[in-house]
Each structure stands twice: as C-alpha cells, then as structure tokens.
Assembly symmetry: C2
Amino acid sequence: MRVKFLNFIEKHNLVHFGDRVLLAVSGGIDSMVMLNLFHGSGVRFSVAHCNFTLRGHESDGDQEFVSQICQTMGVELFVKRFDTNAYARGNRISIQVAARELRFAWFKELCVQNGFTSVAIAHNRNDVAETMLINLCRGTGLKGLTGMSPKSNTIIRPLLFASRIEIEAYAKENGIAHREDSTNASVEYARNRIRHNVIPQLEMVNPGVVNNLYSTSLFMGQAWEEIGAKLISLRDRIRKTHDEEILYSIPLLAKEPLRQLFLLEELTALGFSPGRIVDIEQSLFAQPGKSFLSKGYRLVRDREYLVVSPLIPQDEVCLQIDMDTQSIDFPINLTFSIEDAEDNTDFPRSPGIGVFDLHALKFPLTLRNWKQGDWFIPLGMSGKKKISDLLTDLKIPLHRKEKIYVMESDNQIIWVVGYRIDNRFRVKPSTTRRFTATMD
Amino acid sequence: MRVKFLNFIEKHNLVHFGDRVLLAVSGGIDSMVMLNLFHGSGVRFSVAHCNFTLRGHESDGDQEFVSQICQTMGVELFVKRFDTNAYARGNRISIQVAARELRFAWFKELCVQNGFTSVAIAHNRNDVAETMLINLCRGTGLKGLTGMSPKSNTIIRPLLFASRIEIEAYAKENGIAHREDSTNASVEYARNRIRHNVIPQLEMVNPGVVNNLYSTSLFMGQAWEEIGAKLISLRDRIRKTHDEEILYSIPLLAKEPLRQLFLLEELTALGFSPGRIVDIEQSLFAQPGKSFLSKGYRLVRDREYLVVSPLIPQDEVCLQIDMDTQSIDFPINLTFSIEDAEDNTDFPRSPGIGVFDLHALKFPLTLRNWKQGDWFIPLGMSGKKKISDLLTDLKIPLHRKEKIYVMESDNQIIWVVGYRIDNRFRVKPSTTRRFTATMD
C-alpha cells in the first residue's frame, strides 16, 4: 500500500521537492489512512480540519480526535469552526454545497497565508465509481463521466490509486483509528444506495467494476480534453448574453455538427436533463414557440434564438404549467402532451403517467410540494383521502416524503405525482381530449 | 404508444414510402408488441422467426405460437430451424454469438431474395441501459457507451422510444399474447442481474435512469463520431501488420495526444481491459520487456514497437505466468508484483489478493480451471481439502463453479483464485521476498 502510494505520487507528479502539502482530514477512514501514509513519507505537510458544526457533540468529537492524533504525531494542525447551516440559509444553497464552499475558501486562505503548495483530498476509486453512477442516473454527458483527476490545479488526490476495500484492509492491518460519520447513512441518500446496494451487485457481474469505472473515467477525461476545447470555441460564435438572458443563434446551431454535445454541456449546467436536451435540439428544426423549464431557467425556442432566462428563485416549489409547456426538468422530469381521444380504453396506465380529461382541467396547472392537510379523491374511489394517509399506506420513508409533489388545477389536486390520479379528473368514456403528463 | 411509435419512425426516418420491412419476431413481449404496432400502421411488412432449437419443445412451441398469430393476422411468415449447438461447437464460439451470426446471415438472405429494405429488431430503451451498464462493469471506453442507433444500415430499431415498463403496460392494456423464454433467468447471467437487481436500485436514485442512460448513449454516439474518425486515420500512421503480428510504433504513439483513446479502441477489441491499457500506455515511457496477456493475445513492449501476437487457442484455460509477467486479462484480470518483505505483518489480506513467499514458488506458475480431484491445504489449516468441498462450503452456485481457477506452482495448488491461498505457500516471518497477485 505504502509502495503503491509513493508510486502513484511519483507517476502523477503530485508532489515536487520542496512542496508543503495541506491534508484535508475529517477523521474518517480515508483521510486517516492518507494521514498515515503521508506520515514518514518524507513529504512536508500539515493538517486542516473543518468543524462544520452540523452534528453537535459528534462534530466536536471529530475535532478533538483529529487534534489528539496530530499532537501525538507532532503534526501542525489548523482547525476552523463554521456555522454551515447559517451560511446555507443565507446563500439559499444546500448544506453540501455550503460545506464545500466554506471548506475550499478556507483551504485557499491557508495556502496563501502559510505557503502550502497543494491541498490533498482523500478521494478513492470507489468515490469516482460512485460519482459516475450517480451522474449516469441523473443524466450526464461526457463531462460527467470524466471522474476526478489525481491533480487539478492545487488540489491533489493521492488516494486515487486505491479502492475502498484496500483502504479498509490497510486501516485494519495497521490499526489506524478513525471515526464513523453517523450521517453517512442518511445525508447522501443517492451515494449510499449506490455504495451499499448497486456496486456490490455490479461486482457480482465483474469483480473489477470499481477499477474499470475508474479506468473508463481516465479515458473519458482524454476524450473530453479533445472535445471540450472545441465546444468552448463554439461558444464564442453561437452564444451571446443580453441582460440576464442567454441567446443561442438557431441558424448557427443548426449547421454545427457538434450542436448536441454543445447544448448538452451548456444546458445541463443550467439544470436541463439530457432527455430534454434531445428535445431542445429537435426543436431547432420545428416551429418557434416551444418552451422548456429547468430548476432555475426557462428556455424558449424563439425565431432566431434559443432564449434562456432565469426564473425567480422560490423556497417552496410552485411551478405553473401552461397548456403549451412541453416539459419540465424541475423538481422532477415531466413531459406533457395533449391528444384527441378516440378510444378511451386504450392509453397507458402507470403510476408514472397521469392521463386526464383535458376539459376537466383549468390551466395553468400548478405543481407544488404536498403539505399537511392536502387531500384528493383517489382514482376508483368516491371519498376524500388525506395525502398523509396515502403516503403512510404506501410506506414511503420519511426522507422521500419531502419530495412528493402534487399537481393542481384550480386549487384541486389532480395527481399525487408518481402515485395516484384524482378520480374527478380521470378519463371518462365521454372524454374527447386527453392531457398526459409522463415522468421520465 | 401507437402515436409515439409513429412519431419515432418519422423522426428517425426509419421507414420510407414503398419500403418492405422484415420484423424479427421471437414471440417474446417486445417483438409481439412490435408486431402489433406495425400491424395496421400502413407499413408493408413480413415476419421472420428463428427456431434455434436450443430449448426443445419450448422452441417448437414458440414457432407454433408465432405461426398461428401470423396466420390469424394474415401476415407472411418465414421460419427457419437452426442447429445452433452444432454451429457453435464447429466454430468454437459461444451459443449467443452463434445464434446472432446465424440469424443475421439468414435475415440478409431473406432481404436479398425477397426485396426487404430493412430488418426491424425489437430492442427497447432498457436494453440500451442494460448494455451500457454491462459494458461499464467489464470496462469500456467511449464506443461501449454509444448504445444502439434507431437505424444502422439495414437494421432498424423502432421500439427504442419505449422503456420496458411502457411495453409491458401496452401489452397488458391491449391483451397482446406473448411467450416467456424460460432461459431468460439463466442464460444471460450479467444482463439478468443488471435488469432485476441493479436498475430497480438505480431507479430509486432517479426514476428516469433508463431514459437518462438512453439519452447519454445518444450524446456518446455523437462524441464517438467526432473522435472515432480521428482514430481511424491514426491507425494508418501508427499500426502495421507482419504475418500474424500487429506492430504499433512506440515513437509515433509517444507523441500522439490521443494515444490513450487509440490504444483503448485498438486493444479492447483484442480483449485487453481498460485498466491494462492504462498500464500499456505507461509502458511506452518505460524500459522495453514488459508483457501483457489477454484472452487471445500477448502484447510485448519491445524496443521500437508494441508487438501483439495471437496465442494458440485452447479449450481449457491453462496459462503460464512467468516471473516477469506484469498482468493478465484472461480468464480473469490479475496483476502481479514482487517486493522485498520488510515487515511480514503488513500486507493486504483479502480473498482477491494472493500474497506468497516468493522463494516457495517455482516459475512459471500455471493458471487453469479447477477440476474434480483437485485439493490444497487452506491457509491456517494443516490437512488437505478438496476444492469441490471448499466450493460447496462457500455455497458457490453451479454456473459460477465453472469459472473458478487455481494457480499452481510445480503441480501444487497455491491459490484457489479469489477464495483462499494454500498454507504451504503463505508468507512466513522468515519470508524475505513476496509475490503478490491482485484481482482487479
């Protein structure tokens, strides 16, 4: 392990003679193994520990633990406490993003003030594999598959040679103390599902899947270098900004062979999903007027330009869906269609597809978070049912309940999205036009 | 569904006026839904059914079923029986590959003789998503993520607009009869694991994962168009062949920025894994002499060239591992290293890593399939144990047992690869040099 570590540092030129490295050490197994490997490696280093004060006594315990180890080792330690919750609220960002911003701002400061040449982060190969799979789930292009570099600017990742199994084996072998983060199991829902349920299954298909995903990420990085540079030069030709709007020239896009990849990288950054970008690309060759919504932006296929304008941010989700809205990417991916109903026995029925009698609806519809007190009349029933009871019946876990949305017409719930439509708005034998909303 | 189907055909120009399409219909749900959608669509078509005679009465039942439906519908049907087993044995290929070759050769014949303009295959979006995930498990580059096109030459895939859920819903809704393939559960081990265990987990991370993987495959296709063309032109400059050998010029590769991607596409086609290709690329800048093995090829980093030569094919795996073999990709991925043993309490211990006392070994080692009667002395024990008993103790399912390999030194088993090393060859306090084999 130690030999592999030193080889990896040398192979990727992570540390040069005379460098001073700042190790980001949380107290978890990865960073404690990194600390152990740096200790006695001949590299000059100090340690930085962030106390994000998110887990009360536990956070303070981590800080105390890292302090003691550094003292025993005789290693210089920097510690800082952050009010992460307040920062996240103040900047209307998630706790994760807040923690990342605070941490990197402080590391930068430490580097400038103390002459550190790089900051070492204890990412391993499983982190790369998990991130690739999460990105694939959420929809991604080339960039999202490029993984993490062993070195990007002043950040180095000297543990990228190792898988989690190797790190755990080394920690056990060498009695390396570390602290478990009790929020690991809950904070990062997607990552934990990938880690505990998906990767072990994939390993039964191929035991080398983690290493293979890592290798693929390296190759994707090279493909991206080749293509990314072209996309940046396209940007100058095709894109212009006007006040808060971004405009993409339709005639120039239409004749550009790389337009799909270009739109992919431009628009996923604005929250549009890859599926939506396929639709947006096709709208280039259709009539003007189609519009698409993402979390923060509205894109309209105008005459000469695709026009992207920011939506006003809101705390609670409350989106309006007009009769001509094609699709939205936020808070969930939905596409909408209207069609003549010839045969009302023949249309898709699935919890992910809401099919309604168009004439029973009043536009604009509203999509919002469900709230206590909400009720509807489930399909096939005649009485009211509280949504809280429905969710209990369906055994929806708490952390998913927050992400349940309802669609309303004129203040009446027509669909508990992804679960059940309302009986009053269902398709009847008399229905002549159907409105369909499809999750994808 | 019908509207989506017709839109998809139109959008991708799958069928032109006057075309005659040959539908490949197995009798499974996908192809029966395809048949239903084509029926009454206005497109002229006939049906082809392959009886691979692999499942006895069941295969004949499928043929009978498809015949009856076609008769009822008044659709022209072509049927052919194949002796797939004999063809596979005769050509030393797998049953799957044999079935594919036989089927496409026959389709081609039917097109020429009967004037069909294209062959329609009932692949859906889940097939694309599953293939991408399988390729990622096995290690892949850009090409392996490009998915399937709605149209490639004379093959069209008119069901690529739909996910399996939509197809199942439509079949149920419209009472479309179909036959289940009883081998589905066992034949394609990897695909079934991905289908039943992995995708449902990923859908809990993001319900749109199947559509997102499909969209990503479209974008990867475009990226591949851009890069693939360049790699083909590189080939002319960098590669030459000599008898059965392929030679890649090292000086030319060394200064080519796309060399990693180039080697990836060249060498994965010869059975080398992406991880191995990273190593091969690095060997360009190291001393000559390193060698790498894949299923069918040996690659040697010579002075001026990377030299790839075919191995003589053998029925049973029996590979020799020399002291200077760096790694093999077949029948499993293994890397080898030798190191001085300073502290014999400190080395990785995991079933996937075999660590041995170098001086107890006699090279070349042999890697081969286990066979009845094999025995070894498991680590920590003093008596012999039959490998068949070990596999029973470990509850290894039958279909995996065939893929268990043993490593031998001088006709003595030193490792049941991936499970347990032999006690006689273990690292002891007196060990001065260690030989390590790592699965990846």
